[in-house]
């Protein structure tokens, strides 16, 4: 088992290095020039020369592999540099971690909504295939998957915040400061509706598969009550797929809530990423994506190790 874990950790490290290369080079393929954005609308200035001076200041005049080497050698020491557009001199590591901390509640709450609603719905639909209830659940889950979160978010704002006044329209908490659960409800619901849609479909198909298995038929034949068979024997196995999907989804939720965070002005990692991309703040983009990627890799690593424990065959493959 130890060798298995060591192998998986090593593989994760490879992926992390590859990720750092991809992030670094991809952002540099993005159109535009960071110095041009920084200089903005120049007046009475030789724009060409000003840009070259700024590129030098940012180290962008160096060959790209030199830039990468510098970045990586600093990153391994925990130095992600300072942001050049979001408050001059602010430490990127502090900024990204702070934003991630703010994205965490939205990710957790959305996940909670996803789990709480999708599992019962999936069970109901999976145990009553081709009934009205099944069709209704399928339609709802399709809506959840298909409806753009931008639209869902705005509709929730207009109805629950503006019309009913139940929840705030936007922000992380009261404008005066702090975090509020009230502010969390609408963005988490927006993201949650999407998750419910996806997870319900997985749960439903998992239940359908399991319910037609021999051991379930055997359980019925033994005279067990219907719901006892479903909850004690079928659910456990049907959940396996859903748990995997949940683990994978959560890794991406930290930065995956870009649209939701933008609509609700939620100052999290997703919104930071969008702002940094617009301003071509390479340092912030690299750090944010690296953090999101790392969390994704970490969650997968945990899932892999858990699978190794649960199913010994995986360890030997």
């Amino acid at each position: 088992m130890h060798a298995f874990i060591a192998r998986r950790v090593l593989q994760s490290l490879y992926v992390l290095v590859a990720l750092s290369v991809v992030i670094f080079f991809l952002i540099r393929f993005a159109p535009g020039n960071p110095s041009v954005i920084r200089l903005g609308f120049t007046e009475d200035m030789d724009a060409h020369a000003a840009r070259e001076r700024d590129e030098k200041e940012l180290g962008l005049d160096k060959p790209i592999y030199v830039q990468y080497y510098r970045w990586v050698t600093h990153v391994v020491r925990g130095d992600f540099g300072v942001t050049v557009t979001l408050g001059i001199g602010v430490d990127v590591r502090t900024l990204v971690l702070e934003k991630a901390r703010r994205s965490l509640p939205i990710a957790l709450a959305a996940m909670l909504i996803g789990i709480v609603f999708s599992i019962p719905l999936g069970i109901i639909a999976g145990t009553r295939p081709n009934t009205v209830i099944d069709h209704a659940v399928t339609a709802f889950s399709l809506f959840g998957v298909a409806a753009p979160s931008f639209w869902v978010g705005l509709m929730l704002i207009l109805f629950f915040a503006v019309r009913l006044g139940w929840f705030p329209t936007s922000g992380y908490g009261p404008i005066e400061g702090g975090f509020s659960f009230h502010n969390l409800v609408l963005p988490a619901s927006t993201l949650g509706i999407q998750l419910v849609g996806g997870l319900t479909r997985f749960m439903r198909s998992g239940m359908l598969d399991v319910m037609s298995s021999d051991y379930i038929r055997t359980a019925h034949a033994k005279g067990l009550k219907y719901w006892a068979v479903v909850m004690r024997h079928a659910l456990k196995n049907a959940l396996l797929v859903v748990v995997t999907v949940i683990a994978l989804t959560f890794g991406g939720l930290l930065t995956g809530a870009v649209v939701t965070e933008t609509v609700f002005a939620w100052p999290g990692l997703g919104q930071l990423l969008v702002t940094a991309i617009k301003r071509l703040d390479y340092g912030v983009v690299q750090a944010a994506v690296l953090l999101a990627g790392s969390s994704f890799i970490f969650v997968n690593l945990i899932a892999d190790i858990a699978y190794g424990y649960l199913d010994p065959r995986i360890r030997y493959q």
Binding site: E43, G165, T169, P267
Partner: protein, 580 residues
């Protein structure tokens, strides 16, 4: 197992419901305004003596006088919340030119400030000034009671230090250096005198140049200017959460106590990028002010109870929209194409569809209320004539051109309307949308090119044919016209900068620019700018003016008397008030 799951689900739902129910609310605290009304009755006995008749008449008059006594205790703290488009970028205002930093102006104090039309200088740090007969020397008398936010006293040497920094140290950030273009030197003969010498006299030095340098900061606190700036304005910096909100608080030791009157004690700016969310936040009472209201939502705000639309006094705006052409490259190098676009474009349709009919369609770059505006007949829309011009110039119809919308939200819709109207004139506008960084690189700055030549100036060339361009310039004709056609040093060899995306250049026009900038005679300036407009806008046509753009903000009725400046920003200097 199912019991456990059931219990778990119930538990989770309960936790969520509880969290939602008891989470910290954002309800606004209702406070009682304490105003004591004291009614006094005064008996006035008026004695009227009539002489020489010895009759004495005594008339008793009772006058009731209402005296309003405002409680003398400290005013209740109030917090005004404003929604901006994005998070604050620079706290060092000398480095900033972003609209997201607009509320940093609360912290500023300059040598002088400006009136709401941005056309007249008003006293600020300088309480008075003398101007030499030839108009090239300004002597400012500095107040002796100006304090920085850290309590340090501001003296004239600080102004010298700040101006030097703006001109030399942070010249490539912000626009400060450009505003000091005509300044030859400046000095502080004593603590309360600030001397400035100009290269030549100019009508815009006081009204525009110097008022655009309002961010005098304490030299002793320069090391923290990017994170915790120290200025001398009516508000001081309190907190910035990078990528999020900024907080300012009233500076009680500001020299102008009148200016502090009625102002909120705390001002918080939050970034809300999405238009609809911004408006929803205003409607829900979560913010008191939103900037940059989209034209599509103006009616909505006007019709919502408790909300108001803030606008520019007298509708005076220096913001306008035009079509720009790549004057030196590609198909639009040919004047026939530019002229055909001028006749084919449906300005009224653009105004109606994109701007809710709120714009003022025209062809003169200045608004009709402007002192330098001269009534000029606009070319009537005539798509058939556009086709004829193209056919006469030897083109097969339709002529295809590369239309690159600006990066602002309405530009893509505008491009669609423009495409339809141009099609009627035999022009096929192929729309190519660029992200903001690419627009800046390809359209504003230009792309690097090998050697200087007919299409490559200052090592750069442009990669577009036409597009829209929204400007918000200072209201003097120098700002609204000259600034748009700027070359680096007044020569074509030096390349182009500023807002001269078209790269239009004419040495004769350059002379007129200089003449317009260096005479104080308003009639002469009107004549000069008419000649410039006739030559550029109606003869060479590097641009086609579409419309003058009024600018609006949305606010709750807690905000009183806040006006919008001609460029579209809030006139925070004014006597506006806020009641929570």
């Amino acid at each position: 197992m199912h019991k456990k799951l059931g219990l778990l689900s119930m538990g989770l739902i309960t936790v969520m419901a509880f969290a939602a129910a008891c989470g910290g609310g954002t309800e606004t605290e209702v406070r009682e305004v304490e105003v004591e009304r004291v009614v006094t009755e005064e008996r006035i006995v008026e004695v009227v003596k009539e002489v020489p008749v010895e009759v004495e008449v005594v008339r008793e008059v009772t006058k009731t006088e209402v005296v309003e006594v405002i409680a003398t205790r400290e005013p209740e703290p109030t917090t005004m919340r404003a929604a901006n488009l994005g998070p604050v970028e620079f706290l060092d205002s000398a480095k900033s030119q972003s609209v997201n930093d607009t509320f940093n102006a609360l912290m500023h104090a300059g040598v002088v400030t400006r009136d709401v039309t941005y056309s007249q200088a008003l006293p600020e740090i300088a309480h008075a000034w003398d101007i030499s007969d030839d108009g090239t020397n300004f002597t400012f008398r500095i107040r002796d009671d100006v304090l920085y936010h850290n309590g340090n006293k501001l003296v004239a040497d600080d102004l010298v230090w700040n101006w030097t920094r703006i001109r030399d140290d942070v010249a490539e950030r912000g626009r400060g250096k450009a505003h000091m273009a005509v300044v030859t030197d400046f000095s502080a003969p004593d603590d309360y005198t600030f001397d400035v010498n100009l290269e030549f006299t100019t009508p815009i030095f006081m009204s525009e140049r110097i008022t655009n340098l309002p961010y005098m900061s304490d030299p002793a606190a320069i090391s923290t200017i990017d994170t915790s700036p120290v200025y001398a304005g009516p508000y001081r910096f309190r907190k910035l959460i990078p990528g999020d909100k900024a907080e300012y608080e009233l500076f009680p030791d500001h020299y102008d106590t009148q200016r502090l009157r009625g102002k909120p004690t705390t001002f918080i700016s939050v970034p809300i990028e999405v238009d609809l969310t911004r408006i929803a936040a205003l409607k829900a009472g979560e913010v008191d002010l939103i900037i940059n209201v989209d034209f599509a939502h103006l009616d909505d705000i006007e019709q919502t109870k408790g909300l108001q639309l803030l606008d520019q006094p007298g509708g005076f705006t220096s913001s306008y929209l035009q079509i720009i052409f790549n004057y030196r490259e590609g198909i639009t190098k040919d004047k026939a194409i530019r002229e055909a676009v001028q006749y084919a474009i449906d300005k009224e349709a653009i105004n109606r569809v994109v701007f809710n009919g709120r714009g003022d369609v025209g062809c003169h770059p200045l608004p009709t209320e402007h002192w330098a505006y001269v009534e000029t007949p606009c070319p009537e829309r005539d798509p058939e004539r556009a086709k004829q011009i193209l056919t006469d110039a030897g083109y097969d119809l339709p002529v295809t051109l590369d239309w690159v919308p600006m990066f602002v939200p309405f530009s893509k819709v505008l491009a669609q309307v423009a495409k339809q109207s141009l099609a009627e004139g035999g022009i096929n506008a192929e729309i190519r949308v660029l992200d903001t960084p690419s627009w800046f690189e390809q359209i504003h700055y230009g792309v690097k090119c090998g050697a200087d030549g007919p299409e490559c100036f200052g090592g750069l060339h442009k990669t577009f044919d036409a597009g829209d361009n929204w400007l918000g310039r200072t209201p003097d004709p120098d700002g609204m016209i000259t600034n748009v056609f700027k070359t680096n040093e007044g020569t074509i060899e030096s390349g182009f900068s500023g807002n001269n995306e078209t790269r239009f250049y004419d040495p004769e026009i350059e002379k007129l620019f200089k003449a317009g900038l260096s005479t104080l005679d308003r009639d002469e300036r009107i004549r000069i700018y008419k000649e410039i407009v006739d030559s550029i806008h109606f003869d060479e046509i590097p641009v086609v003016k579409l419309q003058t753009m009024p600018r609006f903000m949305g606010a709750s009725y807690k905000v009183k008397d806040l006006l919008v400046g001609p460029r579209g920003g809030a006139y925070l200097i004014g006597r506006w008030e806020f009641s929570d």
